[in-house]
């Protein structure tokens, strides 16, 4: 039936089980996914459960593998841009930014200031959209249906903004090598300003409706605790790391593009999990960090709106891009963690290697460690709190 030999190898030692069971029953193998409402996308988790308690978990990936890295070696530099939207399809702008920065670093070209401004605004707006989805679907996993619908009201406005500037709603391919494809249409910046104002009121409603709700806190506090050492050992990044109290954010610690100035202007902080409602590093902390980050992104967008000036939006680069010989790694702060592009070129029109370090891939590995010992209902909460996107895991 199922390869039980592998299932035994998971690191669940019975000592850690919360509910000490004297009656020895036969463990039940339950397949959560690949088609399951709680696994965000197409991922299968083989859960070995003893009654309601999960004793072993094994994620099985590859259902959404589209050989993105192999295509990277057959397609020209600029033609690879649309593929980068399809990794983390909830934050396509950030993916474009990551890839473009890696190639620009290798080419050593300078981006005009207005292009960097528009890039930062789009990346931060997309971060808000991505965290909104994380927050909404997490409510769905815990059983609250309405926050999901409220969340989509705001995200719909964000998508309309992106529709005005680049024409697409989900896969933008807007931030390109050397800047952005076209300048912001008239009136766009003032509409972003209105979006920020309205979003701040609605944000307080989200917190009241779900984050501080007693049942939500009961379902997420002290569940799926990731201590600091385990987080570093697994190489977690982003809200997963900050949820466990590790103060690390690429935008502040290894700033790229405009973030040096933005951090100096002191308009945004880095929210950290403090274990307010349970132990440090539990599910509640991770969703708390994501919700607070939305407000920080609003402040960054406000700063950019304040200091944007007119000017060119694209550096002067030839129509067909030839990247000089060499290799470069550029890591940026994606909503889910550090998205790294490792680009190797031999001076031609096509890449030698285009490696993508997806944050969801590493964040997912930690499930094997924290799922055993939790109840079935908690496994859903823990999987939801890692906020993985399967497109980025399988590439």
């Amino acid at each position: 039936m199922v390869e039980t030999k592998d299932a035994q190898r998971t690191t669940a030692d019975p000592g850690k089980r919360e509910f000490m069971l004297d009656v020895r029953t036969q463990d039940m193998e339950v397949n959560m996914g690949p088609q399951h409402p709680a696994t965000h996308g197409v991922m299968r988790i083989l859960v070995r459960a003893d009654g309601e308690v999960c004793t072993g978990a094994q994620p099985h990936l590859g259902y959404l593998h589209r050989c993105a890295e192999k295509i990277g070696e057959n397609v020209e530099w600029l033609q690879y841009l649309p593929y980068t939207d399809r990794y983390d399809y909830l934050a396509a702008m950030n993916n474009n930014l990551g890839y473009s920065m890696a190639v620009e670093k290798l080419m050593g070209i300078e981006i005009p200031r207005r292009a960097m401004m528009i890039r930062t605004i789009c990346a931060e707006l997309n971060r808000i959209g991505s965290h909104l989805i994380a927050f909404g679907t997490y409510g769905l996993d815990i059983g609250a249906f309405t926050p999901f619908l409220y969340m989509f009201r705001e995200r719909e406005w964000m998508m309309a903004l992106f529709e005005k500037i680049c024409g697409a709603r989900l896969t933008y391919s807007y931030i390109r090598i050397g800047g952005v494809f076209n300048d912001a249409p008239p009136g766009w910046l003032s509409e972003v300003e209105r979006f920020c104002d309205v979003f701040e009121e609605k944000w307080h409603e989200y917190v009241d409706l779900l984050m501080v709700n007693h049942i939500f806190v009961q379902r997420t506090a002290n569940i799926g605790v990731i201590p600091r050492a385990m987080a570093l050992d697994f190489g977690l990044t982003g809200p997963m790391l900050r949820g466990s109290g590790v103060d690390w954010d690429l935008r502040r610690d290894m700033p790229y593009e405009l973030y040096v100035e933005i951090w100096k202007s002191g308009c945004f902080q880095i929210p950290l999990g403090k274990g307010e409602r349970g132990t440090l590093g539990d599910c509640w902390d991770r969703s708390y960090v994501r919700v607070m980050e939305m407000m920080e992104s609003i402040q960054i967008v406000r700063w950019c709106l304040g200091s944007i000036a007119s000017g060119p939006v694209i550096a002067d680069i030839p129509k067909t891009i030839r990247v000089p010989n060499g290799e470069a790694y550029a890591g940026i702060e994606n909503p889910r963690g550090e998205l790294g592009h490792y680009v190797v070129s031999d001076g031609g029109k096509v890449a030698i290697r285009c490696r993508v370090r997806g944050p969801s891939f590493t964040n997912l590995a930690v499930l094997e460690e924290i799922l055993p010992g939790a109840l079935i209902a908690d496994t859903i909460a823990i999987i939801g709190s890692t906020d993985i996107v399967v497109g980025e895991t399988d590439r």
């Binding site: 033609q79 841009l81 529709e163 500037i165 024409g167 409603e205 709700n213 049942i215």
Partner: protein
């Protein structure tokens, strides 16, 4: 004592947050919904929207820049060249493969391929997804007129050239005639 305090705090906290949550959902219950009944009412589509392509055929010079720029090679075009004029046969875009990334619009030197605001195109048959962006086949009337004029100009140029050659040849022949005649008189002088 701490446990009983926690016990009652749990109860009060649960009730309080439930009422807060109900206040928010109740507020939206009374407000007017914001959704749109799709087929009857529609949201305005911005003009930069990436929908189905449209081609300004007369400006196109069949330089294949857009076909090369497309990551998935879904643009194919075929035309017969008559000097500078083009006789169009087909300009197809395969929408089964197209991913609406708008990379084909930028490299066009004549700026004649754009993406429109139409997005709904369904059909029962896969072959209908291969759209032909041409508005007319063959040659436009003014293109034909220009072609004919170009041909006449070419013919006229040829005749003029022939006439010049003929004239030169005639002149040459004349000179030989004179030379032969002169030669006969002063032949050895020119030898």
């Amino acid at each position: 004592m701490k446990a009983t305090a926690k016990y009652f705090r749990n109860c009060i906290d649960a009730l309080k947050t439930t009422l807060v949550g109900m206040r928010i959902t109740g507020k939206y219950l009374l407000q007017k919904p914001i959704t749109v009944q799709y087929p009857d009412e529609r949201l305005p589509i911005p003009n930069r929207y990436r929908g189905i392509h449209y081609l300004e055929q007369e400006k196109c010079i069949e330089c294949l820049a857009c076909a090369r720029a497309c990551p998935i090679d879904c643009i194919e075009m075929d035309a017969v060249r008559h000097g500078k004029e083009l006789e169009w046969i087909s300009f197809t875009l395969d929408y089964q493969k197209c991913m609406f990334c708008e990379l084909c619009v930028y490299p066009c030197p004549k700026d004649c391929i754009h993406m429109g605001t139409e997005f709904a195109f369904v059909s029962y048959d896969r072959s209908e997804f291969v759209h032909d962006l041409l508005s007319y086949r063959g040659m436009a009337r003014d293109a034909k007129v220009r072609m004919l004029e170009a041909e006449e100009k070419k013919k006229a140029k040829e005749e003029a050239k022939k006439a010049k050659e003929a004239a030169k040849a005639a002149q040459l022949a004349e000179q030989e005639g004179k030379a032969a005649a002169g030669g006969a008189q002063g032949g050895p002088g020119q030898g």
